[in-house]
């Protein structure tokens, strides 16, 4: 059995931190895509036109009920065959964002449904235009409710980023794997990756809980 070597940890840390930076970028951009796209789904699914809600709900259910890894492989290996090629990180961001957008859509839906009917009625009584009702009355109130839940999905996405290693994105796990493949020593790289994950995700979840207390009063 190997013994733990701090010297080895010191040697590999710069590469792992480079990977961490990629992981953080993938999470941030992926989150932004999922926040924006999820809102698009949520609003489209509330449209009175069934010609819009039907295809959107099929797409959303399909993406939500198939594994992220399969979707990543599809984006990375299948799309280039149709002439659509993106760099690995961009593919990862699209994959994460698309996959998680089907969950954030559900979060938005719950947030919008949580706005009391009286708010819609007051907006109608004042004849506020539909757009204005959404942008000034409904969504600001819905956002307060959804921010903590969206935060939890960001953490979940953060923990899903190692899947991007499978499509050659140089994230933490990818780096750890490359190092270990060269040194045949897996213990330190994989352990450090785990520690780096918890060092980021646990304080973030504490922060979210504090934010939740502030927002939901």
């Amino acid at each position: 059995m190997n013994t733990w070597s701090w010297g080895y940890v010191g040697d590999i840390l710069p590469d792992l931190l480079k990977g961490l930076w990629i992981t953080v970028q993938a999470t941030l951009y992926g989150s932004l895509v999922s926040f924006a796209l999820g809102l698009v789904w949520a609003l489209a699914l509330r449209s009175p036109s069934r010609r819009l809600t039907w295809p959107v709900s099929i797409v959303v259910e399909f993406i939500r009920n198939t594994p992220l890894l399969v979707q990543l492989f599809f984006l990375f290996f299948v799309l280039p065959g149709w002439g659509l090629t993106f760099p690995p990180l961009a593919t990862g961001v699209i994959g994460l964002g698309l996959h998680y957008s089907t969950f954030t859509a559900e979060v938005y839906r719950a947030g919008i449904d949580g706005v009391p009917a009286g708010q819609w009625e007051a907006a109608t009584a004042l004849s506020l235009p539909r757009r204005r009702t959404w942008s000034a009355v409904i969504l600001p109130q819905a956002f307060r409710r959804v921010v903590p839940v969206l935060g939890n999905y960001v953490i979940a996405m953060f923990k899903d980023t190692p899947m991007l290693a499978a499509i050659t994105v140089g994230d933490m796990l990818f780096q750890a794997n490359s190092i270990s493949a060269a040194t045949f020593d897996y213990m330190e790289p994989i352990t450090v990756v785990g520690v780096l994950f918890i060092v980021i995700s646990y304080p973030t979840s504490l922060l979210l809980r504090a934010l939740e207390r502030r927002l939901v009063r």
């Binding site: 009286g118 007051a122 109608t124």
Partner: protein
């Protein structure tokens, strides 16, 4: 800010011109198998203050909600200021109104709700200026000036920069009144506006409404359980039962010598 209770009756409503402002024509509204309004006809003249009384479930609130287009009638038509509210005439035929038409007619109507329904994400001032700016196209300054004037009227000048949740129920309801008035509606609908308030806060809200009733020419349609208030401000009282108006008349007549047995029963229960 409170109205003078000794104001003589003759000067109470200075600008009543008596033209027909609201007309319900054979309006029927059902919820499932339950018929809430049964081929209802009634009219309200411009400038009048009309109070709807009757047991709960008799359809009073439904009338206000139909007028505010929060509900649509199953049968019959509603006219406001001579225009159909939920219908429009196209090629000589009456068809369900488009959103634009309804919006135009509805602009003449304001409503105050039992639960206030202020926008909790906006400060008091913006609650009041939001619609004048985005519906009437009023400039921000003009809208704020109008809002401040109305806050003065409802006695809340010191609270412009607060959020609704920082106010008492009575204060919130007075802001809601100011918000409705900021649109300068011809008709103000009051839906049990004091029912959700603690007893000690009711008087303040009713004083404001009395003041408005006695000093403006706004038409009021009021559902309330406050019979003294109804007697104070009403020109007409309509007694509802089972989706129909069973009796109507001046408050003096309805409250002191009701003709209908159901009216007598109802009044003896609430007075």
């Amino acid at each position: 800010m409170s109205a003078d209770p000794n104001l003589p009756e003759e000067t109470a409503n200075p600008a009543v011109d008596g033209t027909e402002l609201i007309r319900f024509d054979h309006v029927t509204k059902r919820f499932g198998a339950h018929t809430v309004l049964d081929s209802l006809d009634f009219t309200v003249s411009s400038g009048k203050h009309v109070t709807l009384i009757g047991p709960s479930g008799s359809g009073k609130t439904t009338i206000l909600r139909l007028l505010m287009t929060l509900l649509t009638p199953d049968e019959g038509t509603i006219k406001v200021g001579g225009d159909y509210l939920t219908h429009e005439e196209k090629g000589g035929r009456l068809v369900p109104a488009g959103e634009k038409h309804t919006r135009e007619v509805r602009k003449n109507i304001g409503m105050v709700f039992q639960q206030f329904n202020l926008f909790p994400n906006m400060k008091v001032l913006r609650n009041i200026t939001e619609a004048p700016v985005h519906v009437l196209g009023l400039g921000k300054e003009a809208a704020e000036e109008r809002a401040r004037g109305l806050l003065d009227l409802v006695g809340l000048t010191d609270h412009v920069d607060k959020y609704p949740t920082q106010l008492s129920g009575g204060q919130q309801q007075r802001v809601a009144i100011a918000r409705a008035l900021a649109m300068r509606p011809q008709v103000l609908l009051l839906d049990e506006v004091t029912s959700a308030l603690d007893p000690e806060l009711v008087a303040g809200v009713l004083d404001v409404l009395r003041d408005i009733a006695h000093t403006t020419d706004i038409t009021m349609l009021c559902v309330t359980h406050e019979m003294n208030f109804a007697r104070d401000i009403s020109d007409d009282v309509l007694m509802f039962d089972a989706g129909r108006v069973i009796e109507s008349g001046t408050p003096e007549k309805i409250f002191t010598e009701p003709e209908h047995e159901r009216t007598r029963e109802f009044l003896s229960a609430v007075l």
